[in-house]
Symmetry: C2
Subunit: 337 residues, 2 copies
């Protein structure tokens, strides 16, 4: 019987989340059932998207119950396998528990990590994992940018957004990023290679729209949106006719406290826009293609992936909460010994 | 020199429009320039979509200036042609003036009417014109319904919506319509053949959502939206994974007075929805296909088109304003002698 220390949801947050909404706890872990794996977690992915699962509403997964473990993407070593495709000792990425161990049921978000790969484990969980694959399929399959086009990215200093801008540049597009604060905007230009960076902090909706128009003199062909709300609303009138809006996340709305007023949705009609949401598992049969592209771009030094790796389970709660204070950039992970 | 009596925009309406925002006036009509046609209007199409052009914001066309003629779709007889493809005496549908005469520049919304056709002129302007073509391409090309699927239509008693429901049924779908009031809901079932009708009047957002869920036990595959706002927001959580939302119009938002609060946009991500706006001219090279389908369906008595034809230019202003009082159904036109 394994005792698992883990992060559990203490109360259902309404509005801004705080560390008090979570607590460390410990539980006797049930043995994996037929078809499941028991993992010793090595790395936890700290993703703002998990915020969706903390509200009372059904999102892309059922809500996490108060008192239940917080789930997240993990990289772990198989210490017990009851699934034919996995053996003890395998390294696996999967949807697990924010804790020392996870019981995982392999699905479209679960795969074996190549131990012979030259890449680090954090790369396997991040740029070659959900993050990089989401950026790849979201931009190229949902957004379908064309060389010479303009790609606007919100949440551009985040783990997915920073990759989207770079993939857009690799594909011959002009990349414009929106982020909060001068420091992040400098990062967009200097580290991630965006052509232009827009700081949304301190700007009214009209000022934000004007800044977007100024940064995109040929209009916007593809908007990759991680933010939603007023950022989306201010962007719609600057889209080109027939443009694509890729909805990857709507971090501004995850707290559910203040649903946004959308004044410009008619632009979807007037400009014949395609607005599409997507989830990574829709592209599960093409993961190899994404990984080959990402590995190639990393090898050619065309893709830079910013990682912050924190130590120990105690770091998970503050790291998760910090995602919503606009104070992080790139990908945050927690390493367990 | 022709003196043209016409409807002009008297003041830029804010919020609900009224008859005072318009007035009848008279002007000396300029001669058509090279490439243009002078039409004697026989029928004026009274479309709520024109409301978009009365605000200060750029929509699908530039706003109509205060004091300028109100434009609309017309059917008229060519009395002077300076375009090689048209001759005097031709009957033409085009984007013209809400008045006795129009000067028209042929474009993707302009075509010759077959005088030998057995159809009435009002059919040529309506069910075989922009209205029917919009319903056809919007539902079948943008919405792509599959037999056995559920198609939800808002503004379902309107000129486009009433055809969309019938085309959905022809294609083997279940058609559910939303309209305002018991009389219109009866019309949806009895005249237009919808499987179920939902009355949105007097319902809170939660009640509307619950009514939609109850009317669509298998979820919604295609939502054809003419309304936007709370109707759209209440529908999103009832969509099936990968469903399509066709944005044809957003009549609830045309007054620009109270942009809607949208609480459920994350459903676009969580359910991987396709939300698409469109404009009829995008399908200009396939008009023949739509007309053949619509004529066939009319001949087989599978398609019922409700028309209200009013007499004289004086009727145009009250008819247009009435579109926004939820008191009309089907297609309204004005006939000029």
């Amino acid at each position: 019987m394994i005792h698992n220390r883990y992060v559990r949801l203490r109360s259902r947050p309404c509005g801004k989340i705080g560390q008090d909404d979570f607590e460390l706890s410990s539980m006797a872990l049930p043995s994996p059932e037929q078809g499941q794996l028991l993992l010793k977690n090595r790395l936890l992915s700290i993703d703002p998207g998990v915020r969706n699962l903390l509200g009372a509403k059904e999102g892309y997964l059922p809500p996490i119950a108060v008192g239940a473990p917080v789930t997240c993407s993990v990289l772990g070593e198989v210490i017990q396998s009851r699934h034919d495709a996995f053996a003890e000792g395998d390294l696996v990425v999967g949807r697990g528990m924010m804790g020392e161990y996870s019981v995982v049921t392999p699905d479209a978000l679960c795969w074996k990590v190549d131990k012979a790969s030259a890449h680090t484990l954090s790369n396997a969980l991040g740029v070659l994992g959900n993050t990089g694959r989401t950026a790849y399929f979201g931009l190229l399959e949902v957004g379908r940018p064309e060389p010479g086009g303009t790609v606007l990215v919100s949440g551009a200093s985040g783990s997915v957004g920073s990759l989207v801008g770079q993939i857009a540049r690799i594909k011959g597009c002009r990349a414009v990023g929106i982020a909060g604060g001068e420091q992040k905007c400098r990062m967009l230009r200097d580290e991630f290679g965006f052509d232009v960076a827009i700081d949304y902090l301190g700007k009214s909706d009209e000022e934000l729209h004007a800044a977007i128009v100024a940064a995109c003199p040929d209009g916007i062909d593809v908007f990759f949106d991680n933010v939603g709300g007023r950022v989306l609303d201010s962007t719609l009138p600057a889209m080109n006719f027939g443009g694509r809006v890729v909805l990857c996340g709507l971090i501004s709305q995850y707290d559910g406290a203040s649903p946004p007023v959308m004044a410009n949705l008619f632009m979807i009609v007037a400009k014949a826009l395609h607005v599409r949401g997507f989830l990574l598992p829709q592209f599960a049969d093409r993961y190899d293609e994404a990984v080959a592209f990402l590995e190639g771009a990393i090898a050619r030094r065309e893709l830079y992936f910013r990682e912050e790796i924190l130590d120990g389970l105690e770091a998970a709660i503050p790291a998760f909460v910090r995602q919503f204070n606009a104070s992080t950039a790139g990908k945050t992970m927690v390493q367990l010994s």
